[in-house]
């Protein structure tokens, strides 16, 4: 039977994928930067956040972890997780019970850590990444993918491209990501189209936005 979704639910599924991917990618990058800072490149974290238009101050590697994850800036991961939780609550009828439960647990992990006097450490990041892996794992367990799964995957892929472009990463992976976005969009709407630009990354982001507007009617 065809799965029906309201625009509100479809949008929240998409943003659930985006927020969760953003949290995961940031944690992975922050952990890598933590190592680089320990090894002596003190500005590595500042440079990374400058590309997100965030002025991040810290005086040690541990301080960097705290401020990167819970500092008062738009990339604060407790806030992003709070958004992911809201997305999950709104579309919980279309998210597996276990994935929903792990999302609430992940939110509580961030919420608790953000209010704790203790500093963030690698153990916290490991726990968070394990939970995220668990959520993605649950999302891929079933043999049949439904439209709700495709909307989450679409959000995940779009966030990946968005971060990729913002950080000016090597363009080699980008065409593959864009192609994945198109294939996922076509599982939602078989006639979906995505213009791919080899050199103009901003144009690619505009094309993705156009694709999303085409898929979800306001």
């Amino acid at each position: 039977m065809e799965q029906l979704l309201t625009t509100n639910v479809a949008t929240n599924l998409y943003w659930f994928g985006r927020h969760l991917e953003r949290v995961e990618m940031t944690l992975i990058d922050v952990m890598a930067l933590f190592d680089i800072i320990i090894d002596g490149d003190k500005n590595a974290g500042q440079d990374y956040y400058a590309r997100l238009e965030i002025d991040l101050a810290y005086d040690s590697a541990s301080d960097f972890l705290d401020n990167a994850i819970f500092g008062s800036h738009p990339s604060n991961l407790a806030e992003l997780m709070s958004n992911a939780r809201e997305n999950a609550i709104i579309c919980r009828a279309h998210i597996e019970t276990d994935a929903f439960g792990e999302t609430i647990k992940l939110y509580e992990l961030f919420d608790h850590a953000s209010r704790s006097a203790n500093r963030v450490d690698y153990e916290f990041i490991d726990s968070a990444l394990s939970l995220i892996n668990e959520i993605w794992g649950i999302k891929t367990r079933g043999l049949v993918r439904r439209k709700s799964d495709h909307f989450i995957r679409l959000g995940k892929l779009v966030e990946k491209v968005d971060l990729h472009v913002r950080h000016g990463k090597d363009g080699e992976e980008l065409p593959e990501y864009l192609n994945n976005i198109l294939q996922t969009a076509r599982k939602i709407a078989p006639n979906a189209k995505l213009s791919i630009y080899e050199t103009d990354e901003e144009a690619n982001l505009d094309a993705i936005n156009e694709l999303i507007h085409h898929l979800v009617v306001e």
Binding site: T7, E86, R92, F100, G101, V216
Partner: protein, 454 residues
């Protein structure tokens, strides 16, 4: 006084005593993961809180529950017949069983719906009947009928699911009635009245106190959870707006909002959570609304007084279950009794719900009681008075210690092709010892209810 069911409780404690006490914490963590929330508005602020629960279940013997099932089936059948009669021929009024002014002054009576009969003539689809067990008679007593939008069924479903995961030993060793069939009762009832199209659950939205329940039940019964903006009426037909722009016909709406807010074109024009035109579609017979519009009249605490008479009138039977002794100050004889005994009675404002507007005579000063009499005399239809029913406490595990708390029981009765009394229900307990108010909106908690046999 604590309710005991002899050997049934012994069996529970025998297994519980062998359990690792750490599991209670595990139980809490598991429930927290699934955001079993009952949200509150306090001082204008939205407060998201998990509904407090207790790990010790209420246990009701199978035989005792069977009697309750028969009584509730009888009661809901009569109430459905009453509503159908009231909005069509009104024979019960013409025959003088219920005084006419009593009906017309009921807040939930909607004269605009006179002459309309809903799909399959069913009006009381999902019902929550509040009961307590009287310590004197050791019998269940009915306190209230909730026939508009009774909430709470998702909480026992969630706690049972958790219970089975954390303490499987009980379910292996004891004969406890399963409860998952509630979803199929609900789905079957919706399908039975569906006028052609999909089923939806209409929620006021994310910030409603029972949003958790709306989303949970929608998922369980395979209906779409929608807000008003996601539905549209065209040519007296209700449609679901799909994300891709398509419109899908809706045949049944399980609405989780009161009549007043359902349709800004028909009721409260300020309502932002209603669907414009949905009443027009309903009156045209193009969509079923669960529960029926206008049920509030039977929910009225004053009409409750007449339910035993409805049972005799429509079914020609004696009521199997009884109301708490109730007096209507509207009748002169009752009013005199109420005024003479007001310090021993519980006075309820018929327009209030959720534990609001309940006044315990024994807890009021002489001046307050005199003031209350003046208010009752000025508007006797607005109040009922009941004898204070001393109801049982249930053992609750609070901060690691067993402690008694007053507890009521909300039974759920779902009416579709058949009347199904769910083999579970919501046991609600008061937060403080000795308090009689157990409502969730008053800070009360809940526990699982096991219908069990040896």
């Amino acid at each position: 006084m604590i309710e005991e069911s002899g050997k049934l409780h012994e069996k529970f404690w025998e297994i519980f005593s062998r359990q690792d006490r750490q599991k209670v914490e595990e139980f809490q963590q598991y429930m927290d993961k699934f955001a079993v929330n009952f949200n509150l508005y306090k001082d204008g602020n939205f407060i998201e809180r998990s509904l407090p629960f207790d790990v010790v279940p209420r246990i009701i013997g199978r035989e005792e529950f069977s009697k309750m099932q028969r009584g509730l089936e009888q009661r809901i059948t009569a109430l459905n017949l009453f509503l159908e009669d009231l909005y069509t021929e009104a024979k019960i009024v013409k025959d003088g069983i219920i005084p006419e002014p009593f009906i017309h002054q009921a807040k939930g009576y909607l004269k605009e719906f006179v002459g309309f009969s809903p799909s399959q003539k069913i009006r009381t689809h999902i019902n929550g009947i509040d009961l307590v067990k009287d310590t004197k008679s050791d019998e269940w007593v009915i306190l209230e009928d909730n026939l508009r939008v009774p909430s709470g069924a998702s909480y026992p479903l969630s706690i049972r699911d958790t219970y089975r995961k954390i303490y499987p030993e009980f379910f292996e060793a004891l004969k406890i009635e399963p409860i998952k069939q509630y979803s199929s009762y609900l789905r079957d009832a919706m399908n039975h009245v569906n006028t052609g199209g999909i089923n939806v659950v209409l929620t006021p939205g994310r910030y409603n106190s029972a949003y958790y329940e709306h989303s949970y039940l929608a998922g369980q019964i395979g209906a779409e959870l929608v807000r008003a903006a996601e539905l549209v009426v065209e040519n007296k037909v209700l449609y679901f707006k799909n994300y891709d722009g398509r419109r899908i016909r809706v045949g049944a709406v399980y609405r989780r909002l009161d009549d007043d807010f359902l349709d800004p074109d028909f009721f409260n024009a300020e309502s932002l959570i209603g669907v414009p035109g949905i009443i027009e579609a309903y009156l045209a017979g193009n969509v079923a609304i669960l529960n029926a519009v206008g049920n509030g009249v039977a929910d009225d605490k004053g009409i409750y007084y007449f339910v035993p008479q409805m049972i005799k009138y429509y079914l020609g039977e004696e009521p199997i279950m009884h109301n708490a002794p109730t007096y209507l100050p509207y009748f002169e004889k009752d009013r005199k009794y109420v005024f003479d005994n007001i310090d021993k009675l519980v006075v309820k404002d018929v327009a209030e719900a959720g534990g609001y507007g309940v006044m315990f005579g024994h807890a009021m000063s002489k001046i307050q009681l005199e003031d209350l009499k003046t208010i009752i005399a000025a508007n006797p239809r607005r109040f009922i008075a009941q004898e204070l029913v001393e109801f049982y406490d249930e053992e609750c595990l609070i901060n690691g210690e067993l402690s008694p708390r007053k507890a009521d029981f909300r039974a759920y009765v779902v009416m579709g092709e058949k009347v199904n009394v769910w083999e579970c229900g919501l046991t609600r307990y008061a937060m403080e010892a000795g308090n009689y108010l157990v409502n969730s909106s008053q800070g009360g908690g809940f526990k699982d209810t096991w219908v069990m046999e040896l």
